[in-house]
């Protein structure tokens, strides 16, 4: 048996009348970086929202560490170790950067979060300078750093990222992805949704391609970089 951390079986999901996901099955193994690519409206965000229980699936099952979590509410899933950096970052704009980060550790019991905060500030030094600013006043890149840092505060086993590069300058994207790839060293498994297919395939071990709510192609990222179908549709070559 594979040592999978997340397993999705025949998942279907409707988004007001429209079928958003149809019979999705996929697996993510411990310690892997897996990416999910696809065009706008392919169902990528719906899939991540369903994994975090922000959407209800119509059919299918979701297993986390071989435990059926399909019926669990979102807060329970966070408690098990699933964190998400949502589409559009989802910051608490009327709270300070540090208050946002502390809320990231809401599911944890510890009172003293100094160590965790230091960890995030070391990864993203600019946030230390901005820690008392309202999160809503930060630049897009800094906001994305807060969103990623906040997700790390819960010390997740599985980190879900929804388009972390969206709308950001290449240099910022690089900085954020540098941090993401180092998370593997502390044993975090990563599932990243990206529209930038080249970026996603270069940093991940394996990838799935979503088309019209179905898994169209899947395989090792390196091989997919050379796959003619992927090249034509997503890499613009």
């Amino acid at each position: 048996m594979e040592d999978n951390i997340l397993k999705i079986e025949n998942l279907s999901c409707n988004y007001s009348q429209i079928i958003a996901l149809e019979n999705i099955s996929l697996e993510i193994n411990k310690g892997e970086i897996v990416s999910l690519i696809g065009a706008n409206g392919a169902g990528k965000t719906t899939l991540l929202r369903t994994i975090s229980a922000l959407n209800k699936p119509k059919n299918g099952k979701i297993f986390f560490e071989n435990k059926d979590i399909t019926k669990l509410d979102s807060d329970k899933r966070v408690g098990l170790g699933i964190a998400q950096v949502p589409e559009g970052r989802g910051l608490f704009t009327i709270l300070s950067v540090e208050q946002n980060l502390k809320l990231g550790a809401y599911s944890r019991k510890e009172k003293d979060l100094t160590k965790e905060l230091e960890y995030v500030y070391d990864k993203f030094p600019i946030l230390r300078e901005k820690k008392d600013d309202y999160a809503g006043t930060l630049s897009g890149g800094q906001q994305q750093m807060v969103a990623v840092g906040r997700a790390l505060m819960s010390k997740p086993k599985l980190l879900l990222l929804d388009e972390p590069s969206m709308g950001l300058a290449p240099i910022i994207v690089e900085e954020i992805f540098d941090v993401i790839t180092t998370l593997r060293d502390i044993g975090t498994t990563i599932f990243v949704v990206e529209q930038n297919a080249f970026l996603a395939l270069s940093i991940s071990d394996r990838a799935y391609v979503l088309e019209n709510g179905r898994v169209a192609i899947s395989g090792r990222s390196k091989e997919m970089l050379n796959d003619s179908r992927v090249k034509e549709a997503y890499l613009g070559a």
Binding site: D75, L91, F92, T93, I94, K102, Y106
Partner: protein
Amino acid sequence: MIELFGYLLSGVTVGFIYTLVGLGFTVIYNSSGIINFSQGEFVMAGGMSTVFLIYAGLPLGVSFVLAIMITSMIGILLYKLISFSRDSSQISLIILTLGFAIFLRGLAQIIFDKQLHTMPSFVGEGAFEIFETTISYQAVLIIIVASTIVVSLYLFFQKTKTGQAMVAASNNVDAAKLMGINIKKILMLNFAISAVIASIGGILLTPITSTNYEVGIMLGLKGFCAAIIGGLGTPFGAVAGGLVLGILESLVAGYVSSEYKDAVAFVVLLAILFFMPGGIFGNLKSQRV
């Protein structure tokens, strides 16, 4: 000058009660987007339960605590009704709160009666004399307790984990869920806190103005005005709105005629909605986003 000082004092006293009712509106509105029109009935429930518990022979302190608990249960009951019908539109839910208010008034008529009731002031009937004006012990108590509630609410929202979770849930529900916050619990807590604040307002006010089953109608409307005047959704707005309203009312009652007192709230409300639709502190909120 002495007159003015007296009016200001009594305005501030009433203003703090409006503040408490307004804060109740704000707390529920922020967490659920619903304007709770049974807020005034929470105030009534606090005052009336206390009066009748005292009639039943319970000591003052016990009566207060029990009345506050009863009212918070009523708040939780309203939350249960709302969560039971949570797929309905916002407007339906607001009308649900209106229906709940009518239900509470009816219930109060049946359980209690239609008479006007009062209770002894808990700090004695005396009064302080400042600058040739008098202010009753009860009025001083209202100012102290209400400002303590305002400050503790602020500290609760800013400094405690649960308070922060409540702010987070009002700011971005989905993101709050992703932090592992149990939204249902947080919402229920909001309704309970709102009911507790309102019931304390009702208890504090009863020795001064008396209470009956329908005292909540006017108090609820005044509190609503206070919340809107300050800018719905901003806690500081409710405080400022409540005080402004209380003072204006008192000045109009003193210098013009007490007949027009109740009109003040609605005239000011209309003026604010015409000229500053966001309320006094409405801009503050949008600047931060």
